[in-house]
C-alpha cells in the first residue's frame, strides 16, 4: 500500500526550522515546511510551486487514477488539481493539513470528471473496465501499453497483473462513494480522521460504508478466484 501514514518525503523544501529542534514530531516538521512553502507560493514563488507538485504528484495521481481508472483522464484531472492549488493558494486557511486540502481538491475534481463522463454517455465504470481489459491483454503477452510502463512489477507475476486488473474492474463496479473510501483508506492509507476531513462525512458513516464496500469487493474478488 502506498501509505499516507508514511512520512511524505523529507520536508518538501528540505529545511525544517532549526529553532524547532528535535522536540518536534515529523508531522509537525512537515506542517511547518508546508506552511513555509505555501507562504512562498502565495508570493508567486514558482520554485515553491514546483516543489509542491514534485512532492505530491504521485499521491494525487494515484488517487485520481484509482478513482477514474483511465490514465489519460487521470493525467488531465491531476494537472487541474495543481492548477487549482496554484490559483487558490490564498484560499487555503491552514485549518487542516495542506495534504488534506489537496486530496479534497483531487477528490472534487475527480467526482466532477466522473459526472462529466457520465453526462457524455460514458459509464463511470467503463474506463476502469478498459484498464482491466488492457491489463488482461498484457498478462496474455500482448504489447505492453504505455499507461502501464511506469509501474514496476515483479517479472514472474503475470498473475499479479491479472489480480490488479480484476481489482480495478471490480472497483469500477462499486458505488462511487464506496470506491472513494476504498481508495482513500485501503490504497492511499489515510486515517479515518483525514478521510472525514477530505470527504466531509463523519467517522461513523465512513466506517460503516467502508465495511460495506469491502464486503462487496470481497464477494466480487472471490468470484474471480474460484
Amino acid at each position: 500500500m502506498h501509505s499516507d501514514k508514511d512520512s511524505p518525503e523529507a520536508p518538501p523544501d528540505g529545511n525544517a526550522s532549526p529553532s524547532a529542534g528535535s522536540a518536534l514530531t515529523d508531522a509537525e516538521r512537515e506542517q511547518i515546511a508546508e506552511r513555509r512553502l505555501l507562504r512562498r507560493l502565495r508570493r508567486g514563488d514558482h520554485r515553491a510551486f514546483a516543489t509542491i507538485v514534485r512532492s505530491y504528484q504521485q499521491r494525487v495521481f494515484n488517487i485520481v487514477f484509482r478513482l477514474l481508472g483511465n490514465r489519460e483522464e487521470a493525467e488531465d484531472v491531476a494537472q487541474d488539481v495543481f492548477v487549482t492549488v496554484y490559483q487558490n493558494a490564498s484560499s487555503f486557511r491552514g485549518e487542516s493539513k495542506f495534504s488534506t486540502w489537496l486530496y479534497r481538491v483531487a477528490v472534487n475534481h475527480s467526482k466532477n470528471r466522473l459526472k462529466y463522463l457520465k453526462r457524455r454517455g460514458r459509464h463511470a465504470g467503463r474506463p476502469l473496465d478498459e484498464v482491466a481489459e488492457r491489463q488482461m491483454a498484457m498478462g496474455s503477452g500482448e504489447t505492453q501499453p504505455s499507461y502501464h510502463a511506469a509501474i514496476p512489477r515483479p517479472d514472474d507475476l503475470a498473475q499479479g497483473r491479472q489480480l490488479e486488473a480484476i481489482i480495478q474492474q471490480e472497483m469500477a463496479r462499486l458505488d462511487e462513494d464506496h470506491r472513494l473510501l476504498v481508495v482513500l483508506r485501503d490504497i492511499q492509507g489515510l486515517s479515518y480522521q483525514q478521510m472525514a476531513e477530505v470527504t466531509g462525512l463523519n467517522v461513523g458513516t465512513i466506517k460503516s460504508r467502508l465495511h460495506r464496500a469491502r464486503l462487496a469487493l470481497k464477494g466480487a474478488l472471490a468470484r474471480h478466484m474460484k
Binding site: V53, Q79, V83, I167, K207, H211, K218
Partner: protein
C-alpha cells in the same frame, strides 16, 4: 458477542481500530464462529490484495504539463520573471504600470496648463487688465446729446 455484532466489527478489527477489550471479546467469538473466521480471513485477503497494488505513477514530465496548462489558462503567462523562478504576479505589475502612466499623464498633460503657462506680453496684460476691470459706463453714454 453475537454473530451479527461480530460481523459488523470485522473491518474495524482488521484496521486495528477497536479498543483492547472489544478486540479480546471479538477474538473469542471468532474462535468459536466458523463463519466469522472465514469472513475475517477473506476480508484480510481482500485488504492485502488492495494494499499490494503498485502506486500509479504520473508521467515524467508531469510538472511541465502542469506549467503548460497554467500558461494556457493565462495565469502565469503574464507573470514577470525577475530571477531564478521568482515571479511578480501580473496584477501587481499592472498596478505599478498604471501608477507610472498616471504620473506621466499628470506631468506631461495636466500640470503644464496650470503651472508652466508662459508670461503674457505686457500689452496683453494691460488689455487683459482693462478687460478685467472695465471702466463703468457713464449713465448717459450711448445717448445722443441734445
Amino acid at each position: 458477542m453475537d454473530h451479527i455484532r461480530g460481523q459488523q466489527l470485522l473491518s474495524e478489527y482488521l484496521d486495528g481500530d477497536l479498543p483492547a477489550d472489544t478486540v479480546a471479546e471479538l477474538e473469542r467469538h471468532i474462535e468459536e464462529c466458523e463463519r466469522c473466521r472465514a469472513e475475517v480471513e477473506s476480508l484480510r485477503a481482500t485488504l492485502t490484495a488492495l494494499g499490494s497494488l503498485e502506486p500509479a505513477e504520473p508521467p515524467q514530465d508531469f510538472l511541465q504539463q502542469v506549467n503548460q496548462k497554467l500558461r494556457r489558462r493565462g495565469k502565469s503567462t503574464f507573470d514577470i520573471s525577475i530571477g531564478l523562478d521568482r515571479k511578480i504576479p501580473f496584477e501587481a505589475v499592472s498596478m505599478v504600470l498604471l501608477g507610472i502612466l498616471l504620473a506621466l499623464y499628470l506631468l506631461l498633460v495636466a500640470l503644464p496648463k496650470e503651472q508652466v503657462t508662459p508670461e503674457p506680453p505686457a500689452a496683453v496684460r494691460r488689455d487683459a487688465g482693462a478687460g478685467a476691470t472695465p471702466v463703468p459706463e457713464h449713465p448717459d453714454s450711448g445717448k445722443e446729446r441734445p
